[in-house]
């Protein structure tokens, strides 16, 4: 145990205790089995009442729309997160801020794409994740070039540093937005990784694993999604976050790939990714690559609860809760659309 961990509880003991309590509220396998059996959304509501969610839907008139459930789930998470953030002290507070940056990136991209498609800003505002909202966010629509965006909107936000590499882009179109998103994420993940390494101790270990996985997942996804677009191999390689296990050799290999099969071959050389690709497919009975990645993410995040005195659990808890929300919404959608064959495709957590 390093010296910092002896003093961990002085500042963060309360929050860690609280969080571990919240962790026990994450739905377990039996609760999922019960949820899956539900016939209607009302049943689902009744069933969720028996879990840690309690009465969170009690003031909603039936029939409840799935979007309402989604919104309520999200606002619950936001309340919890805000509580953590308000009680946190350095360096945990910065760590928690880092978690919000990814939501900020998503929000900006959402707003830019939205304005590009001539949507009303008020309508887009509601779609933004509350964790990633910041004061300047809604004036995104004045920006027509990345430089504009940087100068007018982002320069004061924590994302400014990440955005520097994107200023050279000439205008905002669909492809460029994707590139901006990915380079923002690349810079963000690398920065976050560096931040965690500077904290050191168990935080560095746990977050190192999680962020390395996150980086590699992005590299794989970028590669697969870029097939058939005009993105060159060089440009593509620039988007890969460099803090993962694939770095550097694997990323070179990925940059050269031209189809899915080649990506799979690259993954073969890394045992942890080989297994993900091995079970993935689009045929019935197989899980999509995305789901396989989610499963692995859940596994990694669960493991972070095995250690004490580190910040990784805060990140993991948020990720697991996000996954849980996705699961509940998935199940609710399946029930609402009477499409029960795929209802089991949720990703159980504990």
């Amino acid at each position: 145990m390093s010296l910092a961990e002896y003093g961990f509880n002085v500042d963060n003991g309360y929050l860690e205790g609280l969080l571990r309590g919240f962790r026990s509220g994450i739905l377990n396998k039996t609760e999922y089995l019960n949820l899956v059996q539900c016939e209607t959304i009302d049943d689902l509501k009744l069933q969720l009442q028996a879990t840690d969610y309690g009465n969170f839907l009690q003031n909603e008139p039936s029939p409840i729309a799935v979007s309402v459930i989604d919104e309520k789930l999200r606002s619950r998470l936001v309340v919890e997160f805000r509580h953590f953030r308000n009680h946190a002290v350095e360096p945990l507070s910065t760590f928690l801020d880092y978690i919000t940056y990814s939501y900020m990136i998503d929000n900006i991209i959402l707003l830019i794409t939205g304005t590009l498609r001539q949507r009303q800003i008020a309508e887009l505002r509601n779609k933004c994740h509350p964790l990633g909202s910041f004061a300047e966010m809604e004036s995104v629509n004045i920006a027509s070039t990345p430089a504009d965006l940087y100068n007018a909107v982002l320069v004061d936000t924590p994302l400014a540093n990440y955005f520097k590499s994107c200023i050279t882009q000439t205008d905002l179109d669909e492809v460029n937005i994707e590139i901006i998103r990915n380079s923002l994420y690349k810079a963000y993940i690398e920065d976050f990784y560096q931040f965690c390494q500077n904290i050191g101790g168990a935080t560095a270990d746990v977050m190192g694993t999680i962020l390395a996985f996150e980086a590699d997942r992005r590299a794989f996804i970028i590669t697969i999604n870029s097939f058939g677009t005009e993105l060159t191999a060089d440009d593509r390689e620039k988007l890969y976050p460099s803090c993962g296990k694939l770095y550097p050799y694997g990323l070179h290999q990925l940059a050269k790939c031209e189809d899915y099969e080649q990506v799979r071959q690259v993954a073969e050389t890394y045992p942890e990714y080989a297994s993900i690709f091995a079970g993935a497919g689009n045929n019935p009975g197989e899980k999509t690559l995305e789901d396989r990645f989610f499963e692995r993410e859940v596994q990694i995040n669960m493991l972070s609860f095995m250690q004490q005195f580190h910040f990784g659990i805060f990140y993991s808890y948020i990720r697991l809760k996000e996954q849980e929300s996705r699961n509940i919404v998935w199940i609710a959608e399946c029930i609402a659309q009477r499409h029960r064959t795929k209802i089991d495709n949720y990703i159980p957590i504990f």
């Binding site: 539900c38 009442q49 004061a135």
Partner: protein, 820 residues
């Protein structure tokens, strides 16, 4: 009639209810509140049960009621309470539903109207403020601006405000058109807005702002927000779109502001009029909604109660089984033996009221299930029972320690509290709670609720505190001199000066006390020393004023002391004396030990009552007897020594041996035969012969204690093993006969000393939170031999360590008494 000393006799019963009368029967039984229904379908999930749709309808009704309730809270309309309302018939549910539905709809409509009215009003008010504030801007600008006023534009954005420019610029920018927009923005967003505006427009926009003093109510959330008027000046259409976009992004509302001062003035009055009109309309709408809400407020608590009751009835019915013909519901339940008649009566009236001809049947069943513990409490015993339960609920038919706790708990509190004055306040407070209890019952505050439910407890504590306070002679931390102190100043030596007067006569009691012990007396330090006069005495009666510390004084004469002890409690002189603490501390410490050991002993005795009641005689021999011996040979002996020391070393306690050391040497010098060690710590007397009696007794006691440990540890498991073997051999003797003995190892004593809190001494023995004792005997055989030993050793260790540590804990009685 079940006695208050044990829990009620319970019966397991089966209840056959006709499907059509079930609701009415459960309603009656529910009002009675004497039945605990068992869940007969524990594996069925909530939404698969029979009456789930009814429960769901109730949920929906509750939601509507919550909505109505929220509306009432928003408008601060008080809700009228109502008495106990019976659950309506199930048919009424539809009426209730439709009533709530229409109420909710109407209220929502009213709210929508109100909302739009408020929104309009807000817009108008904002405009009003803009006109007011911009007036200031424009007049400020006015002087310099007059020259550029010539060119004007109509429309939302105007050209003007040339006052922004100084004369030099003006000359060059004659042709440029300045436009402006005006709007309102939330104050907290202003700094960021300004920054973004400056960045996005590269500093080409000029912004003026002014805070509006009034707070606006946000029509969506109802929160009050403070807002600012902004006015932006810029050039060119491109900037205009940009500015408008930014305003949109920051939720700033823009308003048209006319160019000319005249138009503005006209608009100003116009807007003021419209605000007036709108406020009138809004007021009528508010009135309307208020009368509507008042009507709801009259009924809502009744509705809430009804819906809750309907929901609980269906919830209970969800626990029932359907029989094969689906004609009747089968329930299983626990009910107290004594209430069977009342339950039958309730069922009968339920059946009658539902108009059903087939009666409901309550059928007693034999069961091996663990019986629940049910204590009948009233308002007085309720709070005491709650305290006992918080340490663990006694098993079925075990001795209930509550009746004893009613005395011991307040008494032990009072030993610590010990102040008659504060005790009186406490008593009066509790008494007023009791007198006004009917009025206070409705108060919902959580802290007060706690006090209120413990009002009888507080009353008892107050009364006992007054008693102990009088014993300690403490009233608001001052002594009462009711009977006159029994102490007399006694001096010898010719030069004693008291208050400047050479004096060698006795004072009579009253004059002496009045002179020196009254608060107005000279600042004299008194040391009370019970030694008889003539002996050499170290204590001085000193007067700081004369610094005459040499005079010796002994209080009182032997004869006077013997004749006149203070009749009740402590002599008030002690409170004045410097050696007050030296006297009271050992006194209270010893008293704590005596009380504590007595209470523990009492707890052990309660356990034997249980053993005898459940016929576990082996536990009397294998547990109770060694326990009592263990306790008495250590602390019983200590108590004996305490009393001996009190009696035999008065008045000069300086010669008395230290009891603590005596107790320690009882073990450490167990083998010592040297007479010094014995006589030095002999309480009975300094002579060798008496001392050796003490030391011999102590040796015997230590040996008994040591024997008690293996006795507690081994006897019962060995007994059970022997019995099992015999049963195996003979096959004649049923094993279950000793089952309860075996089982006893698991049950009772787990909690015995675990809850080591001194206040709960009485409950220690029997407030048991353990597995079955009454009906569960059959499990006894399953306990493997090894575990028997493990259990028994745990209990033995717990008892032995607990005895010692609890005795130490009882010293808290003294320590807290000191802190008071």
């Amino acid at each position: 009639m079940a006695s208050i000393f044990r829990s009620e006799l319970m019966t397991y019963a089966q209840l056959f209810l006709q499907a059509d009368s079930a609701y009415a029967c459960i309603r009656e039984v529910g009002e009675l509140g004497k039945i605990e229904f068992m869940d007969l379908n524990p594996t069925t999930s909530a939404f698969q049960r029979k009456f789930v749709s009814e429960v769901r309808r109730c949920d929906e009704m509750e939601r509507k009621l919550r909505f109505l309730n929220n509306e009432l809270e928003k408008t601060n309309i008080p809700i009228l309470p109502c008495g106990n309302v019976e659950a309506p018939d199930p048919q009424i549910m539809i009426d209730l539903e439709s009533a709530f539905e229409s109420k909710e709809q109407e209220l929502k409509e009213i709210n929508v109207n109100k909302h739009s009215l408020k929104k309009n009003l807000l817009d108008l008010k904002e405009l009003h403020h803009i006109l007011q504030k911009t007036l200031v801007f424009f007049t400020e600008a006015g002087q310099g601006a007059m020259r550029t006023q010539g060119a004007m534009e109509t429309g939302e954005e105007g050209k003007g405000a040339g006052g922004l420019l100084n004369d030099d610029e003006l000359a060059g920018a004659q042709a440029t058109k300045f436009m402006f927009v005006t709007g309102v923005i939330a104050c907290e967003r202003l700094p960021v807005f300004e920054r973004v505006l400056w960045r996005a427009c590269r500093g080409n926009v000029f912004l003026r702002h002014a805070q509006i003093e009034e707070f606006f109510e946000d029509p969506n959330t109802g929160n009050l927000v403070s807002k600012c008027v902004i006015i932006l000046f810029f050039q060119g259409d491109q900037l205009r779109t940009r500015v408008k976009k930014i305003c949109e992004g920051f939720c700033a509302t823009l308003y048209q502001c006319p160019e000319s001062a005249n138009d503005r003035l006209k608009m100003h009055t116009d807007v003021a009029n419209r605000i007036n009109d709108l406020q009138n309309v809004l007021r009528t709408t508010e009135d309307h909604s208020n009368t509507y809400l008042l009507d709801i407020a009259r009924h809502i608590s009744e509705w809430q109660q009804k819906v809750t009751k309907i929901k609980s009835i269906y919830h209970t019915m969800n626990k029932f089984n359907l029989d094969a013909t689906r004609q009747c519901l089968i329930a299983e339940c626990w009910c107290p033996e004594d209430d069977m008649g009342a339950i039958q009566e309730a069922l009968r009236s339920g059946t009658e009221r539902s108009g059903s001809t087939v009666p409901s049947i309550l059928n007693r069943m034999r069961t091996t299930l663990k019986h629940p513990t049910y204590f009948r409490t009233n308002e007085f015993t309720g709070s005491f029972q709650a305290i006992v339960d918080s340490y663990g609920v006694a098993s079925y038919r075990e001795v209930n320690p509550t009746p004893y706790t009613i005395v011991t708990f307040p008494f032990l509190f009072a030993v610590m509290f010990g102040d008659a004055g504060h005790g009186l306040l406490m008593t009066l407070f509790a008494f007023s709670l009791i007198i006004f209890q009917n009025k206070l019952r409705g108060v919902k505050d959580e802290m007060f609720g706690m006090l209120f439910s413990g009002r009888y407890l507080i009353l008892m504590m107050g009364i006992f505190s007054m008693y102990t306070g009088l014993i300690y002679n403490d009233v608001y931390a001052k002594p009462l001199n009711i009977f006159g102190s029994s102490w007399r100043p006694y001096y010898y030596g010719a030069n004693f000066t008291l208050a400047g007067v050479k004096n060698s006569t006795y004072y009579t009691n009253e004059t002496w006390f009045a002179k020196y012990c009254a608060p107005t007396g000279p600042n004299t330090s008194i040391i009370c020393n019970p030694s008889p006069p003539g002996t050499v005495c170290n204590y001085v009666f000193c007067n700081p004023a004369t610094s005459d510390t040499k005079s010796l004084c002994n209080l009182p004469t032997e004869a006077q002391r013997r004749n006149q002890p203070y009749p009740f409690g402590l002599d008030p002189i002690w409170a004045m004396s410097v050696n007050n603490l030296i006297f009271t501390n050992p006194y209270k410490m010893k008293m704590s030990i005596v009380l504590g050991v007595m209470q523990m002993l009492f707890g052990v005795i309660l356990s034997v009552i249980n053993y005898i009641y459940f016929k576990k005689y082996i536990r009397v021999i294998a547990e109770f007897i060694p326990q009592v011996l263990f306790l008495l040979s250590l602390f019983g002996w200590l108590i004996l020594l305490i009393f001996w020391k009190w009696v035999s070393y008065y008045p000069d306690a300086t010669k008395a041996p230290n009891l603590l050391i005596t107790l320690i040497y009882m073990f450490l010098k167990f083998t010592s035969t040297s007479p010094d060690g014995v006589t030095e710590y002999s309480v009975f007397g300094p002579t060798t012969s008496v001392a050796s009696i003490q030391s011999t007794t102590q040796k015997i006691l230590v040996i008994i204690m040591v024997i008690c440990v293996p006795w507690m540890l081994l006897m019962k498991p060995l007994y059970v093993i022997c019995k099992r073997k015999m049963a195996h051999k003979g096959h004649t003797h049923s094993v279950s006969a000793d089952g309860e003995d075996v089982e006893g190892g698991v049950d009772g004593e787990v909690a015995k000393l675990k809850d080591g809190d001194l206040k709960q001494g009485a409950s220690k023995k029997s407030a048991v939170k353990a597995p079955p004792s009454g009906g569960g005997g059959e499990h006894g055989d399953d306990i493997p031999t090894g575990e028997l030993f493990v259990y028994q050793s745990i209990h033995t260790i717990e008892y032995c360590l607990g005895t010692i540590s609890n005795t130490a804990s009882y010293l808290r009685l003294w320590a807290l008494g000191l802190a008071h």
